[in-house]
């Protein structure tokens, strides 16, 4: 009987009560492991560029204007909040915050820029190593990105090829 079924549907609705949240007025609490906008801590960052190498969206750019300074730029424009950067960071310098209201008209609002003073390790030139062989495979040295034009460049096609700031560094795999 359709009438009975309508009655049952009405009961389903009535039993539900009010479920709407007062959203814009009071944002909903998110769980502690929520993956919101990543926050970079310049004090902890050692400039290993592991995050840049592992970012699926290629939103973290690394550039060395000179031997002592490394610029790490998080653009955040097409960041997918997957949290891989925070996962691979050996110093836990990246935290996935609980911020989720990140919509903005000005693209620079979500970006972050870290200027790191680097001292080069005389032996290896870098001090970061991935735990698994799968991850190690791709670590062929720094990718020289182009933060001024906010794009990342392929090593093989980079116009920097003629004048590399430092030599390509071969990673020792034990």
């Amino acid at each position: 009987m359709s009438f009975v079924s309508k009655l049952k549907e009405a009961i389903v609705c009535l039993r539900a009560g009010r479920v709407t949240l007062p959203y814009p007025a009071r944002p909903r609490e998110v769980p502690p492991n929520f993956r919101g906008r990543p926050i970079f801590d310049a004090a902890k960052c050692i400039g290993c560029a592991g995050c840049a190498n592992n970012c699926p969206a290629r939103e973290i750019l690394v550039y060395d204007p000179c031997q002592e300074i490394r610029i790490l730029k998080y653009l955040g424009r097409r960041c997918t909040y997957c949290g891989r950067c925070a996962e691979v960071c050996p110093e836990k310098a990246i935290t996935m915050s609980t911020e989720y209201e990140n919509a903005t008209d000005v693209i620079g609002d979500v970006g972050q820029r870290l200027e790191l003073f680097m001292s080069t390790c005389q032996r290896c030139g870098r001090c970061f190593k991935e735990p698994s062989a799968l991850e190690q495979l791709k670590l062929k040295g720094y990718r020289f990105d182009d933060p001024e034009n906010e794009r990342w460049v392929f090593r093989s096609r980079a116009y920097l090829e003629g004048e590399k700031p430092v030599d390509d560094i071969q990673i020792e795999m034990d």
């Binding site: 009961i11 479920v19 993956r35 008209d105």
Partner: protein
């Protein structure tokens, strides 16, 4: 064992044409055949051996073997076997016989590799462009290895309008889409309408390409791809990430810790729960029954929240990496998940109880969009659409993956093949999902959730993986490669096959039923349109040009 028998049968019939065969075990079989015999072999497998067509893949293998590669994948569901029929084509003349007249389901896939890899299917009955827009120049094939991922041909005309076929005599064209209230995503159907009755249609889709496959084989790396695969679809993202990593694990013969398999199973079922509840809501919305739309979304919301608690996000779980999962489900979380499931089961039972005898919904859905058993076989329909037409196929049982071989569940099948049957199948599958999650939580062993991968992944191996997504079987094909990324990764989303059934399903139906018939396959255009290298914007007759729209969207700042 089964693979050996099937291969024996093929060898007996086509002995001379079979050049090589590989039986890696675990329900996979690869047969390399002479391109001249491809049609006969595929026809025999499909018609006489009763296999189900899955997908065809074209790949540019020139840098490695000097040849092009075509693979036609079939599934022997009863024998728990996935089979790839491979053919290598000479680099100077990449062409082979079309199999689409013996296997009608291959029509789209062949048109696709014609567009993207430039392999000519000889004798295809409708060799029109499928993926590339009409403004794309001839002879540029984005998935060839010598075309870079960001290449835009100089003579590409993004504003060129599509050329459409002429409607049949006496019919009027009703354009449906690309932007239509019941479509969440762009796809364009040109319905040929005679009075109120739909006589046929032409489909132009692939308007939301994001070039994911090209990116995967030229930019991303093995462990980046799961995060991107998840973005293939807004609803069954976890399915694609699991299917991809399983295909890589299958290719490289990697072992996954048992606990990781259970976590994957649980999250896949959580995804199915929220997807089915969403679909029931949307279907009711399409037929104008918004009460149930509201209620199913209300019932669905706790599932989203519990997923957020487990993985850190409502929808994009970021769950998989090659060799394991990233998030664990602790005992506290398990208890909470159980509580959510109990509540969901009780509430959903009362909804199903109310809806099953609701004559208003039945009037709109019974006898609408009927897919016959023959259509299921010919077009290769999958998932709830196939199961509603009496086809007893379900990858979770037929090609067990993750932990599905260790849980007990029923495959829901209905007979009528109409929209109502699909509604019934989906409503009842919710209970099966709840059952599976409960068993998983019970049986989940301890241990690590990621395996340590010590060696480089082997190069040039092929892997297949089928996962039962909420909408049907998602199938991925991976060829492992150098530089820590696959050589070729082919995604077949369930909608890819199901959409091909739409013209037959809506034929001779009322125009007003088109929306629910299309809605009933739960179309997901972003899944289907997952690959291309550029943003295709042509294809709709617009007053605004693309540039105007962009300026409008940017509020005059652009």
């Amino acid at each position: 064992m089964e693979a050996r028998t099937k291969l024996g049968e093929l060898k007996e019939k086509f002995g001379g044409s079979i050049r090589r065969a590989d039986l890696p075990g675990g329900g996979r079989m690869f047969v390399v055949v002479d391109p001249r015999a491809i049609k006969a072999v595929c026809g025999h497998i499909f018609r006489d051996m009763g296999a189900r067509y899955v997908i065809s893949i074209g790949a540019d293998d020139r840098p490695f073997s000097g040849e092009y590669l075509v693979a036609h994948n079939f599934a022997f569901d009863r024998a728990k076997l996935l089979c790839g029929v491979l053919s290598y084509l000479p680099a100077e003349r990449p062409a082979l016989d079309s199999i689409s007249d013996v296997v009608p389901a291959a029509s789209w896939a062949e048109r696709e590799f014609r567009d993207l890899v430039g392999i000519e299917p000889i004798g295809h009955r409708y060799p029109k462009r499928l993926v590339l827009p009409d403004g794309w120049p001839e002879g540029v094939h984005p998935l060839r290895k010598d075309v870079s991922w960001d290449h835009v041909p100089a003579n590409f005309d993004g504003e060129l309008e599509f050329k459409f076929d002429d409607p049949p005599e006496g019919c009027v064209v009703v354009p449906f889409g690309p932007f239509h209230p019941t479509l969440d995503e762009p796809a364009h159907f040109r319905l040929y309408v005679d009075g109120e009755v739909v006589r046929g249609c032409e489909y132009r889709g692939f308007m939301a390409h994001r070039g994911i496959e090209k990116l995967a084989e030229s930019v991303l790396s093995y462990n980046d791809i799961p995060m991107m695969a998840e973005r293939i679809c807004g609803i069954c993202g976890c399915v694609h990430s699991v299917t991809y990593v399983q295909a890589v694990e299958n290719a490289a013969a990697l072992r996954v810790p048992e606990r990781a398999e259970f976590v994957r199973t649980i999250m896949l079922e959580v995804e199915r729960l929220h997807s089915h509840l969403l679909w029931v809501g949307l279907a009711c919305h399409i037929v104008g029954f918004d009460t149930l739309f509201m209620q199913s979304f209300r019932i669905r919301e706790p599932i989203m929240w519990v997923a957020e608690k487990i993985t850190g996000n409502r929808k994009t779980y970021g769950l998989c990496v090659v060799g394991g999962v990233r998030w664990d489900i602790g005992s506290e979380m398990a208890a909470e998940l159980r509580g959510v499931l109990d509540k969901l089961e009780e509430e959903w039972r009362s909804v199903v109880d109310a809806v099953s005898s609701d004559r208003n919904i039945q009037k709109r859905t019974r006898g609408v969009g009927v897919a016959s058993a023959q259509l299921v076989k010919d077009v290769g329909l999958v998932g709830p659409v196939a199961r509603a037409s009496g086809a007893d196929i379900d990858c979770r049982r037929d090609h067990p993956y993750a932990a599905y071989d260790r849980v007990d569940f029923d495959v829901i099948v209905a007979r009528d093949g109409d929209v109502w049957s699909r509604l019934v199948v989906r409503m009842n599958e919710v209970f099966e999902s709840i059952r599976i999650i409960r068993q998983c939580l019970e049986k989940m062993p301890g241990g690590p959730i990621q395996s340590q991968i010590e060696d480089e992944l082997p190069v040039g191996r092929m892997g297949l993986s089928s996962v039962e997504a909420p909408r049907g079987e998602a199938h991925h094909f991976v060829v492992t490669g150098e530089n820590n990324r696959p050589r070729r990764w082919r995604v077949r989303a369930p909608t890819y096959q199901n959409l091909q059934g739409i013209p037959s399903m809506i034929k001779d139906q009322q125009l007003a039923d088109m929306t629910i018939a299309l809605g009933s396959i739960d179309p997901c255009f972003s899944c289907t349109d997952r690959m291309e290298t550029i943003d295709v914007r042509s294809g709709h007759r617009r007053i605004w040009s693309g540039e105007d729209l962009r300026r409008l969207a940017l509020g005059g700042r652009g």
